[in-house]
């Protein structure tokens, strides 16, 4: 097979490509969903194909196909070069790639249990038991439990001489209880909303989640929310739980530091960024205790891999250092414009898409607070957990998040549950109001398997390590 891949690269080069790479992927997924005692879906999907990316006449071209044979690879190489030549009719400058080390290597996600070798029966037993416990609470109208597993085998070969094989395993799952009373509906989820938490790991990841053990609390909280008081509308101190803070990092830091977005390459779709190059090393993005790193080597993170889809080795890059904005997520094409090397974040969704700059594990580093001490240290405020809704403007400044649940904080103690908590703010003001971050005992890597970007639309698997943190003077209760 590798001869075919090399042959396609050579063919593209002969047709005029100054650079070419090919990615061959075989992606296997398994999805199991149980709802109200019924196994709603067990689906298995396998897709194999390849994509060829070339630079010809100084412009990009890309073509892909699910028909994997030598002749089709040559046809697609031909098409990619034709497309690049069409692109070059509307260019200003030639595409130039930053230098990078060239690797011939293999990488396999370290796992203990191959999720695809675990019998369905065992997986179903966990999901059905968790579902049963959720429904044992009569206030729960909809119980949902699920697991998903991915295995991606990919080979990357470039005209620069790279030859990299990777096998990435991803596993995850979650549970959710929905309580409904008339025109009110409340949901509680574990370990995170929108189908749980995910990591690059084997089946042991799902076992460690203990979905069954958390089901009684999840059900109780969903039902309790129906009769809870509404989150008050006010400006107050806000303590944000880890999974919600992960999405806050994602939307208000992860996206605006994508250098392609900064350069306007996503302007027509997701938008641009307020974190422009003139602000690099100057913008006080957050308070002195805010440190954020992009790290594709975080053990078990959903954004962890060996090499990105340009053959750049996984690495760790400082983004926010003591509150100062110091780095971007980059690709070979964009890094060179800042006289840098790529920091390895260029990734494609499947064989059918081009690589784009995508978040990896963009982590808020732990602070030094115990959670209980943080609550004790707070006279008045709201503690919120688990994302319900998210929205942010096209430069990533004004954000609005809704959460599943909140608790009042009064005189250093957690008080009553409040429902429909939401908060809003402006990104740098918000991060500069951060005055406490919990320590590594509370730090969890939250996997997001549904980050959207690009046209055609691509979905990336990314993650954020976070611990509960405190923010002052935040506008809460804006859900109407």
């Amino acid at each position: 097979m590798k001869d075919w891949l090399r042959g396609a690269i050579e063919h593209a080069t002969k047709l005029g490509a100054s650079y070419a790479d090919i990615r061959l992927l075989n992606l296997v997924t398994e999805n199991i969903q149980v709802k109200n005692g019924t196994v709603e879906a067990i689906t298995s999907r396998e897709t194999m194909g390849f994509g060829i990316r070339v630079i010809a006449n100084g412009s990009w071209g890309f073509a892909s196909s699910s028909l994997v044979n030598e002749g089709e690879m040559r046809r697609i190489a031909d098409l990619a070069v034709q497309i690049a030549k069409a692109s070059s009719t509307l260019k200003k400058d030639d595409v130039v790639l930053a230098e990078t080390e060239i690797y011939q290597d293999k990488y396999v996600t370290p796992i203990k249990k191959d999720p695809f070798a675990v019998p369905l029966k065992g997986k179903l037993a966990i999901l059905i038991e968790a579902d049963k416990i959720l429904r044992a609470n009569k206030g729960v109208k909809i119980a949902e439990t699920n697991m998903r597993f991915f295995r991606t085998e990919k080979t990357f070969i470039s005209s620069d001489g790279a030859d990299i094989d990777q096998v990435i395993y991803e596993s995850g799952g979650g549970i959710a209880a929905t309580a409904i009373d008339g025109d009110q509906m409340q949901v509680r989820s574990f370990p995170n909303s929108f189908r749980g938490n995910y990591g690059t790991a084997g089946y042991e990841y799902v076992e460690d989640l203990d979905l069954v053990g958390h089901a009684p609390r999840v059900a109780e909280e969903a039902v309790a929310l129906l009769t809870a008081k509404e989150c008050p509308s006010k400006t107050t101190t806000l303590i944000i739980g880890g999974s919600q803070l992960a999405l806050q990092v994602h939307e208000s830091c992860g996206h605006p530091i994508e250098l392609d977005r900064v350069f306007g390459m996503e302007a027509s779709y997701a938008g641009t960024s307020f974190m422009t190059p003139d602000k690099l090393n100057k913008l006080q993005y957050g308070s002195k205790i805010v440190n954020i790193n992009a790290d594709a080597t975080t053990p078990g993170g959903l954004g962890t891999f060996g090499y990105d889809d340009e053959g750049v080795k996984a690495q760790r890059t400082p983004i926010i250092k003591e509150g100062l904005f110091v780095g971007y997520l980059t690709s070979r094409e964009t890094a060179i414009k800042l006289c840098q090397k790529s920091n390895g974040t260029s990734r494609a969704d499947g064989w059918w898409n081009i690589p784009l700059i995508r978040m990896i594990n963009v982590n808020l580093e732990p602070g030094d607070w115990e959670f209980d001490d943080m609550i004790k240290d707070t006279d008045e405020g709201i503690y919120v957990e688990t994302n319900k809704s998210w929205s942010i403007d096209d430069k990533r400044l004004n954000f609005h998040f809704g959460c599943e649940i909140g608790w009042e904080i009064k005189n250093g103690k957690l008080g009553d549950i409040v429902k429909n908590p939401a908060y809003t703010g402006i990104t740098p003001e918000f991060w500069n109001s951060c005055d406490a971050i919990c320590n590594k005992n509370h730090w969890i890597v939250w996997g997001t398997p549904n980050c959207g970007k690009g046209e055609p639309s691509q979905t990336a698997h990314v993650a954020h390590g976070t611990a509960p943190s405190r923010f002052r003077n935040v506008k809460v209760g804006v859900s109407k």
Binding site: M185, W390, L397, P456
Partner: protein, 446 residues
């Protein structure tokens, strides 16, 4: 494209291999090309050739679903059938499974355009050059995408359904910018010749020129005129979340309580029609059942939801042809949505407002704050203007809205005569609208 005969032949072959009591299968192929431009140059340019076959095998009430993209490989097809069969063997009984649909005549609709299917990278580049040329005249920077695509879908089941539909689509969107100014335009059709690049370029650049020196306005309730781009976002999400039978049966939708009630303004009438060629037609659903026209809202009254086989049989209602692909647990949703126009123009709607805002489109709408009250939040984008004494007077910085769509569309006070097809998954055809007391909850800095 492999054609009707070959597509149905492959489906019959996999159905014949199945050991299930009932089996259905869906085959799709796609040739999709997209030219993306930014900073007035083509920076991404891609093509995808893809195929997929999905099989659902049912044994009693135990269901197994599997899919692969190797549609022409005999061994892969055998493996696919075996995988789905094995999953069904391991499955628990699903009491909600109420059988596959019986065959019913499907109307043939011609939505395939050879010129669109054959549109080349050079033609797309030429179109983008035309757009950039208009922008260049005023030193405006262009970004956007131009997609041309051909698809075919075939669905068959062991009860005799055998449906096939080829289609094409062309879609362009552009955001043009000059400093802090920006404008937007988009068009979508089955036929690439319907896309008037020059008109798109002029619409976007005209908006950009007017969207200058944006002032800040305070959040609060404003009467708003919404361009069809903005109406499309609100209506399509509302319909998808609230007007599916499963959402209603599970109590997730406001339709659980409001079916048959007057919920919205008299002037709001919305329906789903997969056969209307002024939209992006699709004559059958993902179970192969023919699409029926369903009136969702009539003169403000919540009238109907859409059904697939499972939800229709559970409710004792006729099927409406709105199933999603096998394996989806979302339930049926309306995907070919139309909104009845009125008699106004955007200008005449604007003239009815003493003080308010004009919104070109919304950005990043999230509908999950309170699904049962359809509370959405999102930002304005690419052209928001102050209306004073019946006229658009100044460009304004973007605002965040947070509002129940029940409240919004119960304060609908006028619709334009002209409707517009706005692309999306299958897109929606909607007019422009005047809504009184639209709630803006926040603001941003640009």
């Amino acid at each position: 494209m492999i054609g009707k005969e070959r597509a149905l032949e492959i489906l019959q072959k996999v159905i014949a291999m199945s050991d299930g009591d009932e089996t259905d299968a869906m085959l799709s192929t796609k040739q999709s090309s997209l030219t993306r431009f930014a900073n007035s140059t083509i920076h991404q340019n891609v093509s995808q050739t893809a195929s997929d076959i999905n099989i659902r095998i049912v044994k009693g009430k135990r269901i197994g679903v599997a899919s692969t993209d190797r549609i022409n490989d005999e061994e892969s097809l055998k493996k696919l059938v075996k995988k789905a069969s094995t999953i069904a063997d391991f499955q628990e009984e699903n009491p909600n499974y109420l059988g596959m649909p019986d065959p019913s005549p499907v109307k043939e609709i011609d939505s395939f355009c050879q010129a669109t299917a054959a549109y080349s990278p050079s033609q797309r580049a030429e179109a983008v050059r035309t757009l950039v040329k208009v922008c260049d005249k005023d030193s405006i920077i262009a970004s956007g995408s131009f997609k041309t695509e051909s698809n075919e879908i075939a669905i068959a089941n062991s009860k005799g359904i055998a449906a096939y539909h080829p289609t094409t689509s062309a879609e362009i969107t552009t955001v043009v910018m000059k400093g802090e100014q920006c404008g937007y335009a988009a068009a979508s059709s089955n036929h690439v010749s319907d896309i008037n690049i020059q008109a798109i370029a002029e619409e976007a650049t005209d908006l950009c020129r007017r969207n200058v020196n944006q002032i800040e306005v305070e959040p609060g309730k404003y009467d708003v005129v919404l361009h069809p781009y903005a109406v499309a976002d609100l209506i399509s999400i509302t319909c998808a979340l609230e007007f599916g039978a499963l959402a209603m049966q599970e109590g997730r939708s406001f339709m659980s309580e409001k079916m048959g009630q007057k919920v919205f303004s008299d002037s709001l009438t919305v329906w789903d029609d997969g056969l209307d060629v002024s939209g992006m037609p699709m004559p059958f659903d993902f179970e192969g059942y023919p699409k029926q026209k369903v009136v969702l809202i009539e003169n403000g009254v919540a009238k109907n939801v859409v059904y697939d086989t499972a939800t229709a049989r559970k409710a004792g209602k006729p099927l409406t042809g709105h199933a999603l692909p096998p394996g989806s647990t979302w339930g049926p949703i309306p995907i070919n949505v139309f909104m009845k126009p009125g008699s106004e123009t955007l200008d005449s709607l604007t003239s009815k407002i003493k003080k308010g805002l004009y919104v070109t489109r919304f950005h990043y709408i999230n509908p999950f704050l309170d699904i049962k009250r359809a509370v959405f939040t999102g930002m304005t984008r690419d052209g928001t203007f102050l209306i004073e004494d019946g006229k658009m007077t100044k460009a304004v910085k973007n605002l965040r809205f947070t509002m129940s769509m029940i409240d919004a569309f119960s304060h609908l006070d006028g619709l334009t005569q002209q409707s517009m097809f706005v692309g999306g998954w299958f897109g929606v055809r909607v007019p422009g609208a005047l809504i009184r007391g639209f709630n803006f909850s926040g603001k941003t800095q640009f």
